[in-house]
Symmetry: C2
Subunit: 470 residues, 2 copies
């Protein structure tokens, strides 16, 4: 039941604001401490750092006042769980963030060391500042502010902080099944998304899925002299280039048969919401720094990002990369190729279609292998949920601006897992600015977004605690 | 004038043979010493090793009895020059070899350290064992054997040992012009080629030219999140794959307009010589270790190698090469692409055509640069030269087998420079077995070819000294 006038924005509890104001410096220091742990999930050498980050967070949760804080084992990186369930009669929210980060390559394009974070021009700069340790830290500090001020939370919280989000959450389905008994909630709030262009507060109504693959092409057992053998031996790097070029046409349309079978067009209302967004294509182009945009004809930039699938090479390598010249036919060539998926596209089905297409097109002079490195389904969250309405009010009250709805081109596979495996509605509430360089060198978080966002979370918990969810 | 019966093979001077037999161990030790110097011309970090190798060779030339041994400066790596010009009335031969070697990547495929050579199963194993320090060393030892035995050579020799052959001899044209005054000769003998399949003694009648390029594709200034931007931003690695795939069709035909304009078909006699060679395609396929051969329809393997141009990617790289997954649109993608040229193809003209074709096909969302890293013209040496006839006799006498004529798919740009800039006829007399793994891991030289080849050279100098060249 909703008892408040939704046109009247509530204000943040002054006692909570006072606590937040008094603890600003310590909060920043703690934020930077968390960023200093190089928790790169995809690289085996950082397994110890992953564990260290999980333990750091679990200790914080206990210190703040959560119960049952635990570094919960999975087949790969641990998941941090905690709960606070003493608000009888109030809703239960499951909060999801992730403590793992992307690798740092190309390291030479970082202005400073990725894991030595610092503040400059109102931004926290460092790997994970935005995606997603900054947002995880906001949830820690929001709960701390409420608990420190009042000794209790206005609703029940369950915390699930993952360590494999940047590696397509491979352990998560099993962990969700095994922990189903302690994951009961009314809604999942995921903070791993961000604002709209121009730092306009936003809620995300859909996420693309992902299929991440590697293509390995092998020719001769060792590199060959390209003079002696050139013209008679299939070159694995040339073959790989051809395979990749045949995956997508010049207009960005993917040529894998069946790829678009489950791409259901977005409904007119959703398309209208996208069209209504204050999108400035010139500013977008300038921010990205490319000579021209590319992509499928017949769609806007925001539709291409949020409502259409795509395919990208994430890495390619083979043969001689040094200075000067080396005249060889390389023995091996490799590429990492990922697809972003929408609507009802299923990455496991698509992988079979993708692999078959690649293998069918491979020339007889090489051996080709295709491996699936990750998969996550696309997801969409209805915009008319009570929690979405409450989050809209909390954002408007704290940021002083009307929030918009956006469609996120990125993938958070757990969103769909929470929906499908646990039957929970999901709300995507994130606070980063689009120019945060997530996954890129010089990742940053606007410090004001971090600070105001903590207040948004406190206010949202208060609204939901007071008004309920249904 | 020729005074001998060409059907009667001369024999090696027994005194020279005795000397060679007595010095076998010391000769091998010296050979391995030379291989231990990592003289990789293309890598700046080895500039000191290049100089050390040149000085080692110049000191040997002096010790052996050559005059004017000099480490002669060029804008890049020095050229070793020496001469012995005391055989009045006898011909003058300019001997060319090179002391630089290919890089060693992929180092992990070497069974042993590339610059710690050793002998196993009748082979010297190590980078440069065959290409070309082994053959250079044969010329040092042949001249030493003659000078040590008789105090003189049967003809006049000029030595030109280069340090940039594996880097398309970029300093050579200038050096040849500047040193024209001391390069007068009747013929140039280049020892940088090898025998035919099955270790059949061979003389090489043509070399392919080369055009070596690098293609650099740049998109956004930094890697972008492939979720957020995938579908709107041209991916430099996808663009590069398309560019490469459009350079050559599935049958190996190069699609650069004008590319075949100067490809004059070989004459029927040359084609017949190729067809007469005892080529075993099954053995060739098995030795290379690929599932199937590739290449232009309508040509034999040996024609594709020696009489047709081709195009290969020698290296490609961009984006994430680590384990696991990283979801980025790479900022940069690069490829090294080289072409082998035949007949009258001119690499400088072709470079313009190649660059224009690549740039025309590049999508508007990326910037593309094409750089020329090296160029060498193709060359052909007539098979009816007196020196070729003499070399045939010397090979037959020492190896006990009739030599054949082969066309070499590799490139030795200096061959054409000697012909065009100095007006000198060139003879390609080399001694390596086709399974020598030149440019590949585990390069080797058959020790018997090295030993008998030294005797071939001694005998050839005796024949030319006695019979003259015209």
């Amino acid at each position: 039941m909703s008892t408040s006038d939704p046109t009247l924005d509530p204000a943040l509890d002054p006692a909570v604001e006072a606590h937040l104001e008094a603890t600003r410096e310590a909060r920043l220091a703690s934020y930077l401490d968390l960023l200093r742990i190089p928790s790169i999930s995809t690289l085996a050498e950082h397994a110890g750092d992953m564990r260290r980050a999980a333990e750091w967070i679990a200790a914080e949760l206990t210190r703040i006042g959560f119960d049952h804080a635990e570094v919960s084992a999975t087949p790969w990186h641990p998941i941090v769980y905690a709960d606070w369930l003493h608000a009888a009669g109030a809703p239960t929210v499951l909060v999801y963030c992730h403590y793992d980060v992307q690798p740092v390559d190309p390291i030479e394009l970082w202005e400073t060391a990725p894991f030595e974070p610092f503040v400059r021009d109102g931004r926290v700069i460092g790997r994970g500042a935005a995606d997603d340790k900054g947002q995880l830290h906001m949830h820690l500090r929001a709960a701390e502010a409420l608990l420190a001020t009042r000794g209790r939370l206005p609703l029940n919280l369950r915390i699930v902080f993952e360590g494999e989000e940047e590696s397509t959450s491979v352990s998560m389905p099993g962990w969700l099944d095994a922990n189903r008994g302690r994951l009961g909630a009314d809604v999942v709030v995921i903070s791993d998304t961000g604002f709209f262009e121009g730092n306009i507060p936003a809620l995300t109504e859909s996420l693309r899925g992902i299929l991440y693959t590697q293509i390995d092409v092998s020719g001769p057992p060792a590199d060959l002299h390209s003079g002696t053998y050139g013209g008679n031996v299939e070159n694995p790097a040339n073959a790989l280039a051809r395979i990749i070029s045949e995956l997508k046409d010049r207009d960005g349309v993917i040529r894998v048969p069946g790829f678009y079978d489950d791409v259901i067009p977005v409904d007119p209302a959703a398309r209208a919401r996208l069209a209504a967004l204050p999108f400035d294509e010139a500013a977008y182009l300038e921010r990205i720094g490319v000579p021209a945009l590319a992509g499928e004809h017949g769609y806007t930039v925001l539709e291409r990002e949020g409502a259409r699938p795509t395919l990208d090479v994430n890495g390619i390598w083979g043969g001689f990369e040094g200075e000067g010249s080396k005249t060889i036919i390389p023995a091996l060539a490799h590429a990492k190729v990922s697809m972003r998926l929408v609507a009802r596209q299923d990455p496991l089905t698509l992988f079979e279609q993708f692999r078959d297409f690649v293998l069918r097109g491979a020339p007889p002079g090489v051996r080709v292998e295709v491996t699936r490195l990750g998969a996550g389904r696309p997801s969409a969250t209805p915009v008319d949920q009570p929690v979405v309405r409450a989050a809209t009010r909390a954002l408007r009250a704290t940021f002083g601006q009307e929030p918009v709805f956006k469609r996120n081109g990125g993938s958070i596979p757990v969103a769909e897992m929470f929906e499908r495996q646990l039957g929970l509605p999901v709300v995507l509430l994130g606070f980063t600015n689009p120019d945060d360089n997530a996954h890129s060198p010089n990742e940053s978080m606007v410090l004001a977004n971090y600070e105001i966002g903590i207040r948004t979370i406190c206010l949202l918990w208060d609204i939901l605690g007071r008004e309920g969810i249904d």
